[in-house]
């Protein structure tokens, strides 16, 4: 049972440059050059009551896709619905819910035709609307987190915590749903062109039936908003070796159109464009890699059994495609993905090959038939080299760590994100697994991060927000140009000045190689 720590009050001191009224001018200049600081205080948590409480995390209530143009006439409303989760819901209720959404969207459009409603807040749940393609709407309904209490009479009462759900986080989750669908299926209109509504429905059903099961709404946070990519820190020489490897493989197999290289689930090289890589990275790190990690941990499918190719020992194996090259009978297929190309999109085979901690993705035009011989050739070319590279990277990484020393390891908990290259870094999140993403801080602190992010997204200028949270926690958000940094500090009796100094120190050690205004 977790004590519910919750803010009861929020004060904001705003000292902003250039927006001050005239009478404040006399003192203004002192602070203006200083910084735009927003300071917020979160006053102590409410005491946990002795009464028994039961906590419920946010859960997915409904998820549906519709197109209002498909059943414009009365009595044909069902035709609008392309996908509905859960499917068991009675038909009329489906129609009602879809109709409601349609109405809300239409209604809000009158206020701002270009920006229709994004979400609807109610006491019990929240609805998110997203129109990824013209007239195609995706709606996700999330039940608010709640506390169930049994009062003195033994009667259960439910308290909803509506404010704990952040629009940007779940809005981003909904967009991710679409992007993931698009990665494996192409756009909705593509399915429509290829096989009409029936095909689209079928594709939606197949995809979302499985995908929705992997949504873990309770652990969504700021990182979902960023949808960033974690880059593996690497010295120049090893990086160039990887370049050399990628170029050589691409030269050898001219079929390969794009290559991506990852180590330890972190990106090192992407031949794909940024936006495609972003979603592919999401798939690899939250779905494909964790899925293969678990059997490895269980000792099955062990990579510790090296393959012999000639005299060279290597640990390479396919994560997609043929699970075992030795079995000539085994059927295999590579997943297909869709990425943007000059003329719309292109369909590609996704080959993911891994040796130790290094993984390479090779993407080949889907029009090419990939044979077993091709896989064998690729295996014998890539396996030994990748094994060698993986151990090189590992060694180099350890060397660098030893040089920088453990004392340089951040004592701080922070999240960094750069909009320009989507680089993200978090010392808050533990390793992601297929099922949950673990954070090492209290959800309430995560929520403050989300709030600060919302504040940042409203203004274009550089800003800094410092929040005093419960107990001894301070949360600092900084925005400089296209970069955002969020720091969580826990210092006994620290004051504003000390916290500020601490963050300065962090920037000086962790971010001294980038232009980060303080």
């Amino acid at each position: 049972m977790i004590c519910n720590l919750k803010s009861t009050a929020r004060f904001a001191y705003v000292i902003r440059g250039g927006r001050e009224t005239r009478h404040a001018r006399a003192d203004y200049h002192k602070e203006a050059v200083q910084r735009k600081i927003t300071l917020m205080l979160m006053i102590s948590p409410r005491m946990a009551t002795a009464i028994q409480e039961k906590q419920y995390a946010p859960t997915l209530l409904n998820f549906f896709v519709y197109n209002p143009k498909f059943g414009p006439r009365e009595g044909e409303e069902e035709k609008k619905i392309l996908f509905y989760h859960p499917n068991e819901v009675e038909k009329n209720e489906k129609i009602r819910n879809v109709g409601l959404c349609e109405a809300i969207v239409q209604f809000t459009r009158t206020f701002c035709p270009t920006k229709p409603a994004k979400s609807l807040h109610t006491q019990k749940n929240r609805q998110f609307f997203f129109e990824p393609e013209e007239n195609f709407w995706m709606v996700m309904v999330v039940r608010n987190p709640m506390t169930e209490k049994t009062n003195r009479e033994g009667k259960p009462t439910v308290e909803y915590h509506e404010e704990e759900i952040i629009d940007t986080v779940y809005g981003a989750v909904l967009q991710q749903c679409y992007n993931m669908y698009k990665l494996f299926n192409g756009t909705f209109s593509r399915a429509m062109e290829a096989g009409g509504v029936e095909l689209l429905k079928q594709k939606l059903e197949t995809f979302f039936y499985r995908y929705l099961q992997t949504l873990h709404l309770q652990s969504c946070d700021l990182l979902d908003v960023f949808g960033g990519i974690s880059f593996f820190p690497l010295d120049k020489m090893t990086y160039l070796k990887i370049q050399s490897f990628v170029n050589q493989v691409e030269e050898n197999h001219s079929l390969i159109k794009y290559t991506a290289f990852l180590y330890n689930d972190q990106l090192i090289w992407s031949g794909l464009e940024q936006d495609d890589m972003r979603i592919l990275y999401k798939y690899l790190t939250t779905s494909l890699f964790p899925r293969h990690l678990e059997p490895e941990l269980a000792g099955r499918d062990s990579p510790m059994r090296p393959e012999m190719a000639g005299n060279l020992l290597h640990y390479g194996r396919f994560l997609t495609g043929p699970p075992n090259l030795k079995d000539p009978e085994a059927k295999f297929r590579f997943p297909k993905i869709f990425v943007t190309a000059e003329d719309g999109y292109e369909e590609l085979h996704l080959i993911v090959y891994k040796a130790m901690s290094a993984a390479v993705c090779f993407m080949i035009s889907a029009s090419v038939e990939l044979t077993r011989e091709f896989c064998e050739q690729l295996d014998s070319l890539v396996g030994p080299q990748l094994t060698l590279l993986a151990s090189d990277i590992c060694e180099q990484y350890n060397v660098n760590r030893r040089i920088s020393g453990p004392e340089k390891e951040p004592q701080f908990k922070f999240i960094y994100f750069n909009h320009m290259n989507l680089a993200e870094k978090s010392t808050i999140h533990m390793r992601k697994t297929a099922s949950v993403s673990l954070t090492s801080v209290h959800p309430d602190l995560m929520k403050i991060l989300g709030d600060i992010n919302c504040d940042f997204s409203r203004v274009d200028e550089d800003e800094e927000i410092i929040v005093k949270a419960m107990t001894d926690y301070w949360v600092v958000g900084k925005k400089s140009d296209q970069r955002e940094l969020y720091v969580i500090l826990n210092q006994k009796n620290a004051n504003l000045i000390e916290v500020n100094e601490e963050v300065k120190r962090l920037c000086a050690t962790q971010f001294n190689n980038i232009f980060f205004l303080d």
């Binding site: 050059v33 170029n247 050589q248 030269e251």
Partner: protein, 655 residues
């Protein structure tokens, strides 16, 4: 086929009167001079040198048949041997007595085998019983014995470059005793034995001077022994065995060159390559002793290139009819009248020609298919630069395009040599700066050989041309450039800015901005001000270039002024001021610059803030908030008064 002849005779041979019954021809290996002695000198002696076009001609009395004739260094003194007992001398120094003088060998009953000059006035007599080292005193027309050594001598051999005389001793003649002459001293080196293919019984002279040659290869002195095929030993052919001769220590057998055939051979050394001429097949082969055979610990070498004949050579017709433009006739190569001298000289006495043998590198490019081996070979040659660069070009463009691993190997080989030179240069500079050069004659500025192919060579002759090619895929271009940068980094060579520029140009040209971004993210393109400026210029087509550029300027830590300029140009006046303050430069910046930018931003409050900041600075630095005339801020003061009123100006602080 003709482009496969990798050996050729030089274009400008030394011509002399061909040997005949009345004309004796001598060759001096030390001065590389050919002596044509007509009728024992009475009707004239003509001396032709390697490069001095003006030959020397003189007469001397015919006192019998000349056995040996040589000038001392600088043509100061002429030595002539006519008998086996003595040597005669004639001064060629102006204002010196010109009458001949003579020196008999000191050892009784010994006969003089020959003599060698070791300096302008020092000479060594080699007799069958030892050697005698003399100093010639030309003005006194006499010689002074410096040193002598008794030893039974079968024959001798002289290497003028190193002043080493090799004596064949013992009955079989296979124990060689070297002596070295330097600065007027004679010193004995350790003797060594040549392994004979078979030991004759009874013992007799078995090692002929024809089978021995002495030459310097890669700066080291080697005795080359032509070991003929022996029927008793089951070997497939003759060999050349190399003995490494060092000043100190024993002479060691170090290399074996496999000839894979039998017959008559002759040896030359050209450009550190051992050339073996085979007379019966009329071909030659070359060996490079630096080519390592990874399979054997013994240095057994196979020819670098397949056997080819020397490039056909034509000479003008000789004789009375040879007037004007006669059609040249082919010269008979590998003629039995040829004499071969070390290191690279071939003389045809019957036709009156002296040639230098030369190695052509272009045919090697065709004959050596393995690009790695080819590069190793070329990098060790003297005139290799243009050939190497053309190989690099061919490897990137055209039908015989190399694969990336091959290209990588070639780049690594080039940069290895390049790095070695840079390091030598650096340690020399350091030694000079630290003052070690004084009193240290061994410290020499490293010689930059043609094999040093630097970045500007590669850029000018190979890469810039290659990247302009329309028919090469950009993927390949980028891969090659990255491969070159990788190789430079491997050897820790600082990459020049123009190479990065080439990479960026190529990437931008093909809209590969994300790739560029990733390269910069991993600092593959090293930070520099020019690169940062280049990035700034890309901002309009690729907005993130702005951030990349600022980051780079920040890391340089010497570009604070540039950062301020960038921020001001973006109207980020406050940001610029905060930045310059954070690096402690706000006391020195121009107030006018910031006020200008604030005015342009069109934000009154911003202007107020900046104005007030500088008023405070004035107060702090000069005790008054007013701007000095030198700051040229009058216009801004007026504007400030106009917008905010005179009373808004800061009052001077009163104590």
């Amino acid at each position: 086929m003709s482009e496969e002849h990798y050996l050729e005779l030089c274009d400008n041979p030394v011509q002399f009167e061909n040997a005949s019954s009345v004309n004796n021809v001598f060759f001096d290996e030390a001065n590389k001079q050919v002596f044509a002695v007509r009728s024992g000198g009475a009707t004239g002696v003509v001396v032709k040198g390697p490069d001095d076009k003006n030959s020397i001609a003189f007469r001397m009395d015919d006192k019998g048949e000349v056995k040996c004739i040589k000038f001392s260094f600088g043509n100061k003194i002429l030595a002539v041997q006519r008998t086996s007992k003595s040597v005669e001398f004639i001064n060629f120094i102006p204002d010196m007595p010109t009458m001949e003088y003579s020196q008999e060998c000191k050892t009784k009953n010994a006969s003089v085998l020959g003599f060698c000059w070791t300096s302008w006035n020092e000479i060594v007599f080699i007799t069958d019983q030892g050697i005698e080292f003399y100093q010639v005193i030309p003005d006194k027309r006499s010689l002074k014995l410096q040193k002598n050594q008794s030893i039974n001598v079968n024959w001798y051999m002289y290497c003028p470059e190193t002043s080493v005389i090799l004596l064949s001793t013992t009955v079989q003649g296979n124990v060689l005793q070297p002596f070295v002459f330097r600065n007027g001293t004679m010193s004995k080196m350790s003797k060594f034995e040549i392994e004979l293919p078979a030991v004759p019984k009874p013992a007799k002279l078995s090692l002929s001077e024809r089978d021995i040659a002495v030459a310097t290869i890669y700066g080291q002195l080697y005795v080359m022994y032509l070991k003929h095929h022996s029927r008793t030993v089951n070997s497939p052919g003759a060999e050349v065995v190399l003995y490494h001769l060092t000043r100190e220590g024993a002479c060691k057998k170090t290399h074996v060159l496999k000839l894979n055939t039998t017959g008559k051979f002759a040896l030359n050394v050209v450009d550190n390559l051992v050339v073996v001429h085979h007379q019966s097949s009329q071909t030659s082969i070359i060996f490079d002793i630096k080519v390592k055979d990874p399979d054997s610990t013994l240095n057994v070498h196979q020819p670098v290139l397949p056997a080819r004949s020397i490039h056909p050579y034509k000479i003008p017709l000789r004789g009375p009819t040879a007037v004007g433009s006669q059609t040249p006739v082919p010269c008979e190569l590998y003629s039995s009248t040829w004499s071969v001298f070390q290191p690279d000289i071939i003389i045809s006495a019957s036709e009156g020609y002296l040639w230098y043998l030369q190695v052509k590198l272009q045919p090697a490019v065709i004959l050596l298919k393995d690009k790695g081996k080819l590069m190793d070979f070329l990098l060790r040659r003297r005139d290799c630069k243009m050939v190497i660069l053309s190989v690099c070009s061919q490897m990137l463009i055209g039908g015989e395009r190399g694969s990336l691993p091959v290209i990588a190997t070639v780049f690594d080989k080039l940069n290895q040599v390049y790095k070695e030179y840079l390091e030598a240069e650096q340690s020399y500079t350091m030694a000079v700066e630290s003052g070690q050069s004084r009193g240290n004659p061994s410290l020499k500025r490293p010689v930059r050989t043609q094999a040093v192919i630097d970045q500007s060579d590669m850029y000018t002759h190979v890469l810039s041309i290659f990247t302009e090619k329309k028919d090469v895929s950009h993927k390949f271009i980028i891969a090659v450039l990255m491969e070159y940068i990788r190789s430079l980094n491997l050897f820790q060579i600082t990459v020049q800015h123009y190479l990065y520029e080439l990479v960026i140009k190529t990437l931008v040209h093909h809209n590969l901005f994300y790739m560029l971004h990733q390269f910069l993210q991993y600092h593959v393109l090293s930070d520099s001000k020019p690169l940062a400026c280049l990035l700034l210029s890309l901002e309009s087509t690729y907005p993130p270039a702005h951030q990349l550029s600022l980051d780079m300027l920040k890391r340089l830590s010497t570009a604070n002024d540039e950062i301020v300029e960038v921020l001001l140009s973006k109207h980020q006046v406050l940001g610029a001021l905060r930045f310059i303050r954070s690096v402690g430069g706000h006391d020195n910046v121009s107030a006018r610059k910031f006020l200008d930018a604030a005015r342009q931003a069109g934000d009154e409050m911003l202007f107020y803030t900046i104005f007030r900041f500088f008023e405070q600075r004035n107060q702090r630095l000069r005790g008054s908030p007013n701007f000095t005339p030198g700051e040229h801020c009058e216009e801004h003061v007026a504007y400030f008064k106009q917008v905010f009123g005179e009373q808004a100006l800061m009052k001077p602080a009163t104590l």
